[in-house]
């Protein structure tokens, strides 16, 4: 990269990197001209609707399709056994999560349904409405089985959901640095609290969507899929449907929100692909909203007991964690449902310099919908519990919570550093971040305002939450465990005869601006103006192989691949230019769409002219010269398991102690994602993430009855943040580029969601402090606040 493009401290130079360039691909979305999977129409298209279990756990004693098959437009009505002929079952385990176990899961359940909403039959018809009409006429008989809904009951194992597994335990982990009991014995102050987190889900506005088009003549399957990971899906569809991988093409058109929801294998989607093969025609499945609530992965159902030991002077000595999480009846394929709890163990206490840590994790099966990785996986739990107990310790010590954090955060000059949990940090900036946050929010002024308002009966609270975040994962995340999920990504850059650059990247776009930042990087790396760059993502048929979008990896990993590919293409362009101009390539550079004299900047040759000669008049070049104007480069993060980032958030709330209502007045976030490629896009990722985190902290909850029925699985009763309730959010950055890549970018997509719930819960508890009341369960509803206040 040219020195003028970006400075060593990561601040922008004169190029596109570091500038808030508007995303080119947003224009079509603004005109309603995006193409989401449901917008696609193919000849002979058929539509599938699923018949789903009304019971949380029941044996299917009879399925009668006679009436359904007689309905207008119906093409096929099938059960799990019929689909299993075309799609092999899976067991979602990974070798590096030692001892993890799960049961085989079929695309459509056979003999038994294990959660309310599990598909047990499928109807394919000429229209979705016809398919739904027919599905209503499927006659099923059920034998209800005992239901395990509560996590503690699951752990106790009075009834085992999968008898072959012996118990309801999917995964356990214990971590112990040693000397934990000694630290607690020596401590002046010990605090302990148990935190509970309700399940919530992603509520992508576009439901899950898959259109599978099977060509029997070629034994090829083209799958249009609203997904974050096209290559992972290509591999899985190929192996489970037994179609050669080269014959499976997965195309992600515009994706209407994902947040981790669309990176998993869903049985109904696999069934749809199998039905396309069975019926030899295109079959489309669009999850409607009620299906989404019942079957999109849920997340974050945890009960975590945390203890903290510290000295009278305020030095944290140790954390001791016992976490229990319930994941539904199956570990989700292929990433498993053990990762969220594993992350909680890895991240709890993460910003702090204590040496002793002990953690115990139990991941248990229940008869509710499955849970798996959703935006910020485990972080909201780990940050909430760590930061809430840190506040509790500060309160007990009589210390200001900001000063207590300052005393305990890992010093900025301590890196590289290994945390008590064994996480390796290249370089973090907790103290710079804290200072910047306190200045940004005018912490002292807020505290004095708070004090003054309390006297008037107005109860405001200020909550802080420090965090670390896993980004740019290496193969250590999934690959080492045997998952065929690429940790590397690739970028192919093609120089066109007109001087344009086509940039094909394996990372996908879901609206976060991936294509926009790749255009910025490619333009800088090659030396062209950004309007000359066209970016293509989301197609296994055209892009290099790669992982896609998850774990805040797109900018850091995909971006580095684009950068290296762009630099190589620039060198190849210069070779052609040197041959044309009959000079040394080192005398030339590419700037502003022209080949220039490297010293004077004088334009020598327009890039369009290089393209014209290279493609149409290569006969004018030396006999032994062959141009190569397509370049591919890959990038795999190495050296560290993850490029950890850090940040700190603050929330200001006002609690109405009569109604329990919380008004969010303001929210602040300072974070460090290394090199910032597009400040506006980073800030908007963080804002959107914070609001998603606030949703989990205050509103969102998949509520199950004791019978395992989801009682609020619709948008009217499942609350999400709306415009009227959300605060303005101020964002600032500390910039510590990672040295593991030339670009220096770390991830930013999940930071907001990671830290917001802890900050908001601390703010509420700060507001309640005069009443000696605390809330410890999320979502923090008005009812819970009133209960804490003893008013209900």
């Amino acid at each position: 990269m040219n020195a003028d493009k970006i400075k060593s401290d990561g601040t922008p130079g004169t190029g596109y990197i570091g500038q808030s360039v508007p995303r080119a691909n947003a224009k079509r979305l603004l005109q309603g001209r995006g193409i989401y999977t449901d917008d696609l129409r193919l000849p002979r298209i058929a539509h599938v609707a699923f018949f789903r279990s009304p019971h949380a756990h029941a044996r299917i004693t009879k399925l009668d399709f006679a009436r359904a098959r007689g309905m207008p437009g119906v093409i096929a009505v099938v059960d799990g056994k019929a689909v299993a002929e075309y799609c092999k079952p899976w067991v979602a385990v990974l070798a590096h999560l030692k001892g993890i176990k799960s049961a085989p899961q079929h695309a459509i359940a056979i003999d038994r349904a294990c959660w309310q909403g599990e598909a047990v039959a499928a109807v394919v018809a000429e229209s979705r409405a016809q398919a739904e009409d027919a599905a209503d006429l499927i006659e099923a008989q059920w034998e209800e089985l005992p239901v395990v809904v509560d996590m503690a009951d699951a752990l106790a194992g009075k009834y085992v959901i999968h008898s072959d597994l012996g118990d309801n335990i999917c995964f356990t982990r214990e971590l112990d640095t040693g000397e934990v009991d000694a630290a607690f014995a020596a401590a002046d102050v010990v605090v302990e609290e148990t935190y509970e987190f309700g399940r919530h889900t992603g509520v992508t506005l576009e439901g899950r969507a898959l259109l599978a088009d099977y060509n029997a003549a070629e034994n090829s399957l083209t799958v249009y899929h609203s997904t974050q990971a096209p290559h992972m899906m290509q591999d899985i569809i190929s192996r489970h449907l037994d179609i050669p991988e080269g014959n499976v093409r997965v195309i992600a058109k515009d994706v209407g929100g994902s947040y981790g929801i669309k990176v998993h294998v869903y049985p109904d989607e696999m069934a749809t692909a199998a039905l396309a093969v069975m019926l030899k025609r295109p079959v489309k499945f669009i999850a409607d909203r009620l299906e989404s609530f019942l079957t999109d992965i849920h997340a974050r159902e945890h009960k975590a007991k945390l203890r903290l030991a510290c000295t009278r002077a305020g030095d944290i000595l140790a954390f001791d964690l016992d976490d229990l999480t319930g994941i539904g009846p199956y570990s989700v394929y292929p990433r498993t449902s053990g990762i969220e709890g594993n992350q909680v163990v890895n991240l709890t206490g993460g910003p702090y310099k204590h040496k002793q840590y002990r953690a115990k994790l139990n991941v248990v099966f229940t008869n509710k919908n499955v849970t798996c990785q959703y935006r910020a996986v485990g972080h909201p739990i780990a940050v909430s519990i760590t930061e809430c107990i840190v506040d509790l310790a500060a309160e007990k010590l009589g210390m200001d919570p900001a000063e207590f954090r300052r005393r305990n955060l890992i010093p900025d000059d301590a890196y590289p550093y290994t945390s008590a949990a064994g996480m390796k940090f290249e370089k973090l900036s907790h103290h710079q971040t804290l200072d910047k946050l306190l200045a940004l929010m005018d912490y002292k002024k807020l505290r004095s305002e708070q004090e003054a308002l309390r006297k008037k009966g107005i109860y405001r609270g200020i909550g802080l939450a420090a965090m670390i975040e896993v980004t740019n994962p290496s193969p250590a995340f999934y690959g080492v465990g045997g998952a065929r999920i690429s940790a590397q990504d690739g970028a192919t850059l093609r120089f066109e005869p007109t001087g344009m650059v086509t940039c094909m990247v394996s990372v996908t776009e879901q609206g976060q601006g991936t294509e926009g930042i790749f255009a910025q990087i490619a333009a800088d790396a090659v030396g062209v103006s950004i309007d000359k760059v066209r970016v293509i993502t989301g197609d296994t048929g055209t892009t290099p192989y790669g992982g896609g979008t998850w774990a805040s990896r797109g900018a850091g990993i995909g971006g580095e691949a684009v950068l290296q590919s762009g630099k190589a293409l620039r060198a190849h362009i210069l070779e052609v230019a040197a041959a044309i101009l009959q000079t040394g390539g080192e005398m030339l550079d590419v700037r502003n769409d022209s080949v220039v004299d490297v010293r004077t900047g004088e334009a020598k040759l327009a890039l369009a002219e290089v393209g014209r000669i290279a493609y149409f008049r290569p006969d004018t070049l030396p006999m032994d010269f062959q141009s190569e104007l397509v370049v591919t480069r890959h990038y795999t993060p190495r050296g560290y398991g993850f490029a950890f980032t850090n940040g700190m958030q603050a929330s200001l709330v006002e609690v109405d102690t009569e109604t329990g209502f919380v008004k969010l007045l303001k929210h602040w976030c300072v974070e460090d994602c290394g090199t910032i490629i597009n400040p506006q896009l980073v800030d908007e990722q963080i804002r959107g993430g914070i609001v998603q985190g606030i949703g989990g902290a205050l509103f969102e909850h998949c509520i199950y009855s004791p019978e395992g029925q989801l009682v609020n699985g619709n948008m009217a009763e499942y609350l999400v943040p709306m415009a009227g309730e959300m605060p303005d959010i101020a964002i600032a950055h500390v910039v510590t580029p990672t040295k593991t890549s030339e670009l220096g970018a770390k991830g930013a997509g999940e930071a907001g969601t990671a830290g917001a719930p802890g900050a908001v819960m601390n703010a509420i508890n700060d507001a309640l402090r005069p009443f000696k009341a605390r809330v410890t369960a999320q979502p923090v509803t008005p009812e819970r606040i009133l209960k804490a206040l003893g008013k209900v």
Binding site: L30, R41, G256, G257, Q510, M715, M726
Partner: protein, 165 residues
């Protein structure tokens, strides 16, 4: 099953359009499935999320709560129509510059609601903008950028109006 389809004429984006419509078909499904106007989206199909917002005789409605046959004789405007006529060009530009959209799925409905506010309440405050958008879900942005973009357009229009005086 008997064919209950009703021949219906409605004016879609300024063009009189006649189709045989099943009485049970919702306006959003008619626009998307029968006319190929896929810019309006189905997000919840129970009137909560606002992704299907379209304009009928000048008022914004939920396309998933109105039956297509109820639109007989009425003027239906969709994102495609508002884009092509240039009516919301300023809003679209402001949304683009402010990155007031991410995945874009809510955006057509959000723009419909925003244009409705601009027409009806040209002096709306920031809080009023937020209130007006509270029938439209956005899961990506956290709303602030959307509020900023609409505020920018409102201020520009007020400035232009002041200058004309």
């Amino acid at each position: 099953m008997m064919d209950h389809a009703v021949e219906t004429t409605l004016i879609v984006n300024g063009t009189p359009t006649t189709r045989r419509i099943q009485p049970r078909q919702h306006l959003i499904d008619f626009l998307r499935e029968e006319l190929g106007l896929t810019g309006s989206h189905t997000g919840c199909e129970h009137g909560v999320c606002g992704a299907c917002t379209v304009r009928v005789d000048g008022r914004i409605v939920r396309g998933c709560l109105m039956l297509a046959v109820q639109a007989a004789g009425k003027c239906v405007d969709t994102i495609e129509g508002l884009s092509d006529s240039g009516e919301i060009a300023e809003l679209q530009r402001a949304f683009h510059e402010r990155n007031a959209l991410q995945c874009g799925f809510c955006t057509p409905g959000m723009l419909m609601a925003a244009q409705d506010l601009i027409v009806k309440k040209p002096h709306a405050t920031r809080d009023e903008i937020r209130d007006h958008l509270s029938g439209n879900y956005c899961r990506c942005t956290g709303y602030q950028a959307i509020v900023d973009a609409i505020e920018t357009v409102l201020k520009a229009k007020q400035l232009a109006a002041d200058e004309r005086r």
